[in-house]
């Protein structure tokens, strides 16, 4: 039990530290939102109007420390204020518009990559040295080292521009009204094919290699030898004896990427003009939209920490030694 309490305390502290960095980072960047907003207008804004605008956005001249506590309060009351770039929408409105798309896009691709990558890894390890293994493992390494941007642009060019079989942009056909209709859902699915495919494709390699290596380690263990000796079927030994144990490190990687899903997949979202969180964060940074940046980073932090916490609990379940600790 004390393990759980210790972990929770640890995450609380980690959250506070992250929240503090989150507060400081945007303020360390040069430039400020009001100046940027008017930098390209032909007229110079008089100080009064500038001040009035700043106040509507919630920027009141205050000592940093005071601002910090106001910020902490807003974090714990889950109210991030209004977005500057999308004024008068609140930060929550803006983020909630993008969140479902990001969850769908990145979530699906992470799960896909994990399942496919792990299964292939198991198989490659089982038949290690075979023709399957000697093709798939080096190619996995190769794919893994190609940046998502390159693969994204290449698929966009081939399927979107040359063959014209897949849409190059949008989360669904703009002429369809969103609703629970087959037309809408199929359009969403169809528009997600390329971005999800690309995202899954680039991360399959990582899971495959991790799984394969763990699996090979497991296959030399005595309990696997004993499984064979008992005359169990190959399938049983492969999945219940070896893969189950080999899965542990992969689970950690999986949980971490589930956490980082909330950050959105900036590059893929930009390449395919997908309305996700990564795109929003990027636009927010350009406009120095502090409230938006902070809101998004807090959500990312929370997601990451929650994913870690969950993994800790799952470990307790999977690894009996921890229960006694």
């Amino acid at each position: 039990m004390s393990f759980i309490i210790r972990r929770i305390m640890f995450y609380l502290v980690a959250f506070l530290v992250a929240a503090t960095i989150n507060f400081l980072l945007p303020r360390l960047m040069p430039g400020n939102p009001i100046d940027i907003m008017f930098a390209n207008a032909g007229n110079s804004l008089p100080p009064e109007a500038k001040k009035a605008l700043a106040e509507t956005f919630g920027f009141v001249e205050r000592p940093l420390i005071e601002e910090y506590f106001i910020y902490l309060k807003s974090v714990f009351s889950w109210d991030f204020g209004v977005s500057i770039k999308k004024y008068p929408l609140t930060v929550m409105d803006v983020l909630m518009q993008a969140l479902p798309w990001t969850l769908f896009l990145a979530g699906t691709s992470v799960i896909l990559a994990f399942c496919i990558g792990s299964l292939l890894g198991i198989y490659a390890a089982w038949k290690r040295g075979g023709s399957f293994d000697s093709v798939i493992s080096p190619s996995a390494l190769a794919v893994q080292s190609v940046p998502a941007l390159v693969i994204g642009i290449t698929t966009l060019y081939i399927f979107g521009l040359v063959l014209e079989v897949l849409p190059t942009s949008y989360a669904y056909d703009p002429s369809i009204d969103p609703g629970f209709t087959w037309e809408y859902l199929s359009s969403v699915f169809y528009h997600a094919l390329m971005p999800i495919g690309t995202l899954a494709f680039v991360s399959i390699g990582g899971y495959l290699i991790t799984m394969r290596n763990n699996m090979i380690g497991q296959l030399g263990e005595e309990h696997v030898v004993m499984g064979h000796a008992k005359g169990l079927s190959d399938k049983r030994v492969r999945y219940n004896y070896a893969a189950r144990n080999a899965l542990l490190p992969s689970m950690t990687a999986f949980a971490l990427s589930l956490g980082s899903v909330m950050g959105g997949s900036l590059i893929i979202e930009i390449v395919f003009n997908y309305p996700g969180l990564g795109n929003i964060l990027f636009q927010g940074i350009i406009a120095r939209d502090y409230p938006l940046i902070q809101g998004q980073l807090i959500i990312m932090t929370l997601a990451m920490l929650t994913a870690n916490l969950l993994i800790d609990f799952i470990y307790i379940f999977l690894d009996p030694r921890l229960r006694k600790a």
Partner: protein, 551 residues
Amino acid sequence: MRRSMILSAVTAALMAGTSVAQAEDVILTAVPHQTTAFAEVYNPFNQTSDVRSVRDFMFEQLVVFNRLQGGKPEYRLAESFEYSDDLTSVTFKIRDGVKWSDGETLDANDVYFTFNLIKEHPALDTRALWEKIDSVELIDDSHVKVNYKEASTGLIFDVARIHTVPEHVWAEIEDPVSFTNPNPVGSGPLTEIRRFTPQEYVQCRNPHYFQADDLDIDCMRFPQIATNDQTLTAAAKGELDWFGSFLPDIEKTYVAKDPENHKYWFPGGSLVIFNLNMNASEEGNKEAFSDVNFRRAFSMAMDRQAMVDIAGYGYPTINQYPSGLGRGYHAWNNPEADAQYGQYTEYNIEGAMALLEEAGYKDADGDGFIDTPSGKPIKFDLIVPNGWTDWVNTVQLAVEGLNEAGVNASVSTPEAAAWTQQLLDGSYQGAINALVVGVTPHMAFDTFHSSKAMASRFSVTGYTNDELDKLLDSFFKTAEESEQREIMNEIQMILSKDMPHIPVFNNPYWYQYNTARFEGFFSAENDYAVPTVHDGNPERILHLLSIKPKS
């Protein structure tokens, strides 16, 4: 079964843009703004909204001054205006019989109300009108008088640009600053939002539009597009009718896809200049930048033609006016300034070196680069926002010329926000910058007025001149054109002589169009007004009214 579903989705996606509304409606597709998602904000005072079809198209201005026609007034909600004899006030006569889109009458009361609304809420006064106007009087139902703090014939360009809002709606709004105006009642041609999603919206005809006879478009469709690349993809497929975006190698990437209909026109717009910070913190730089001979040599090291042709794909308009006037204002040109100082805007490296040598610049410390006459090193960065590729290449060319002339300059590419910040706080050394052009050349030149110094990113050189201040002040104190011309001649002489900034070219107004479905677009042959669809171009209303479906 499933296969046919996917196929039908494919077809639907390919045909996106044709099936939006009823077939008989005439729908013009335009991209006034790049964004990642639309959100419903129809407040004409909002500067940040991604919905950039509210000003002008939903809320009209009083008068639009046509920049390409020498500032000719195009009357919109106002039918005429008249100055008092001492030029300290202007009275607008509001058009008779204008109605709001809900059928209520639009008259001087609404205009009067709007002026007071932005006075009461300074955050709405984004053109800083109440800095310069003293009061507003309601004369009767069709006349509003605006009293200035001092005589001016130039202030009207800002005053007449106010977007009048309906008093019967806005009077009850508690906080007009954060008001999203969800059910807009407007005066412009397109006030009805037929359809809205974050990826696309359609804005349709105002049932009570005062100029309905001239409006041949029923709706405008605005697809969400986030980048220039996506614009190009959509444009090449012929999905866009009216847009304006940087397209690399436009002849090949856009025009060639349909040479009959894919067209563009890039009239010269904002003035691109090099700023040298005369208050630079390094002594050597400061000494050099404050010396007109150095600035002239800098200017002679600029290969302007290469900047236009190579860095700008030939899109910009070269600017060799020593004052920076620009071809768009050639009618104002003072030939004497060209005759006397024109040599300093000709690309001439030897000339630049000779000029520097003559002024006492030489390599004192033997590092291969010249130092100031007093022996201090000159070494500076020219900053340019990263990712603004045409500008980055321009600066690259500038640096090559400068290095050749023996000046130790280099390129630095901070992020756009940091570039703005360095200009504003005066911590930059040298920079490429652009000045917004107004109805007359006065707007760009007025950035040198001492009262403007360091107030915006346009006035950052630290150069001031009392004589110039007086001339700039007097320009709008008269309504006589001949007098204004004389003043402008003198202003050009001063700026040409002192060369406080180094003009290189005029950025194009980004404008592309597609004549497959529509005609009547402005073009080099039909150059009636600034043709861009972007918010901030008041003349776009004139353009919309001239576009017609192809018969």
